[in-house]
Subunit: 265 residues, 3 copies
Amino acid sequence: AAQGATSTEEPSILVTVEDGLRIIKLNRPKKKNALNPEMYFRWTELMHEAAKDDKTVLTAITGAGDFFCSGNDLGNFMNIPPGGEAELANRTKEFLYQFIDAFIEFPKPLIGVVNGPAVGVSVTTLGLYDAVYSSDQAWFQTPFSQLGQTAEGCSSYVFPRLMGPGIASEMLMFNKKLSAHEAQRYRLVTEVFPHDRLQQEVWPRLQALAKLPARCLIYSKELTRAADKEILKKTNRAECERLCERWQSEDCKNAIMNFFSRQRK
Amino acid sequence: AAQGATSTEEPSILVTVEDGLRIIKLNRPKKKNALNPEMYFRWTELMHEAAKDDKTVLTAITGAGDFFCSGNDLGNFMNIPPGGEAELANRTKEFLYQFIDAFIEFPKPLIGVVNGPAVGVSVTTLGLYDAVYSSDQAWFQTPFSQLGQTAEGCSSYVFPRLMGPGIASEMLMFNKKLSAHEAQRYRLVTEVFPHDRLQQEVWPRLQALAKLPARCLIYSKELTRAADKEILKKTNRAECERLCERWQSEDCKNAIMNFFSRQRK
Amino acid sequence: AAQGATSTEEPSILVTVEDGLRIIKLNRPKKKNALNPEMYFRWTELMHEAAKDDKTVLTAITGAGDFFCSGNDLGNFMNIPPGGEAELANRTKEFLYQFIDAFIEFPKPLIGVVNGPAVGVSVTTLGLYDAVYSSDQAWFQTPFSQLGQTAEGCSSYVFPRLMGPGIASEMLMFNKKLSAHEAQRYRLVTEVFPHDRLQQEVWPRLQALAKLPARCLIYSKELTRAADKEILKKTNRAECERLCERWQSEDCKNAIMNFFSRQRK
């Protein structure tokens, strides 16, 4: 929870586990589920918990409210610690690395239930899920260049293989926004549902899948990830190092100042 | 042929070679071309023969009757040798490894002519063909989890790259069945034909391709496979080791008992 | 310029740089922009120049006239040097290697603006661009087997990953011609435009992209290429060595003689 939160405040991430299905729900709807540092830590922790918990067969990630997740809260860049920008960039780099690593190492099926628009790191990490079911009202954007930044979430490795190099370039370099149906065509999304049917269609399906033999699923995923795991870890490291440099660059500072000055108008 | 077969019985795999085109036809239509150990051995042997034969430019695999191939004959699991289940699992692992390896190492164009539904290992190996032409009445399923098993045929490596990770997960972990047109959209199938036109469209095309310069085809395939061959061999080994464990697991035994008790009802 | 060219002749490749956008335009329209050795050298040189030039943010390749590029000028094979065919093959191998290497190493966004049909090396290299925008009147063909040759431009590695192995086999082994819309479906092309709107739609878009922060684009591309660069370089070398053998083979000589005797009729 944010500084000064009282114990009556709702947690920013909700968790339930029932009959093998664990649901992790981003719950900061007034901020479009933007991720602050506490949420990165908590989400990472919940991934480790899900990995270890014998009662968890299948894990689903979804969002409360209209957005799936609006990505990194840009306000995170305004809260400069005593060590200055370099300290902020280095801290952020480390928790981002750990957060992405939890996806790379996650040993069980991980399903995205994308209830609305997704931005930035909530899009790039979708490439590390096992399947993604999306509302037709969702859209997907990773405006890294526009913000003076570069790709994370292993998207620089995963997106060209998923989408082909052209659409991946348009997403990662040229700030292209994909509709849900485009995201399906380019394989970021596995299946698209009419918005008002998403919940009733997807949850019973996931409840049924959570009854499959847990070890078959774990072993299947292990075989599937074997060839890529080392390269994903290396990519995560390289992306985080580059972002650490980017966050301290003039490109990024100018872009974020412009973002906030546009917001104030 | 099965034990006790007489010499008048039709062979379970038919072979013809004419003008550079070798056709290997699964011929156990009453069993939906399910593969027994003899058929694995014979098919492997025929692949080696095709690789060496100077008169074979192009090799096509197809099925007699309504099915392309219903996969591994589950009856294979009922025929326990004196050494018990462990011996059965180890034997099966070895001939499965050799069978898949024959696809990985096959040096000439290999074309699937999918005349009807395909299940299990006959689906996973399609990812190792150079092109796959299918009837619109075919469908494709690899119900590994449902049977307490895990992926083979290098599908844990090939399918996510072919189909994207979402559809590959649905196939390999969640028992999804693909129609022929879905299989084409997800790149498992190269082209779909109306069922009653498949034979007359595909064979003349393959006869024409078998007149191309044989060395160009061999060298092209060699270049294409170079980057993947070691990883395919490693994947095949890892998948076979995991299956050997799975076949002796409670998950698998329960699933196969359920399968046969459902059949008896 | 060709032998005996006067200084008033138009250069076979035109270049402009304006507001960050460099346009390299093949300009031998009477020969459908077929590449002679001088054009390979010049294009390679222009890629190196674009890579180094601080004023170049985005580089676009396009063609003058009706064709994008008809590939390697087969007339190149008729101009036998004193050292004979072996010398010709070795020379060609070396400048082809350097040409493809310039694409592999190109550090900035590279965009194809495909104004018409593309053949051979102008198709294979498209797999090394960051995005490809095409006229709906373009088509794409790499008739290597028909000419007794094998793949180049890293297509033996890139095409199966881009298109799936089936369509890649049909292109690289079976001489299949793709329409612009097929090329988009199989991810060789990023977006297709009606022929008469291509120029007015694409250039303003590229002018806008050339205003993005240059370092973000360079770093994004560096991250994206990191996992593949060594394998692309190795593939380029293997493909060039094989072609050097092919060009001296009977398969190739017969195919090229047939080509010219058909032309004369």
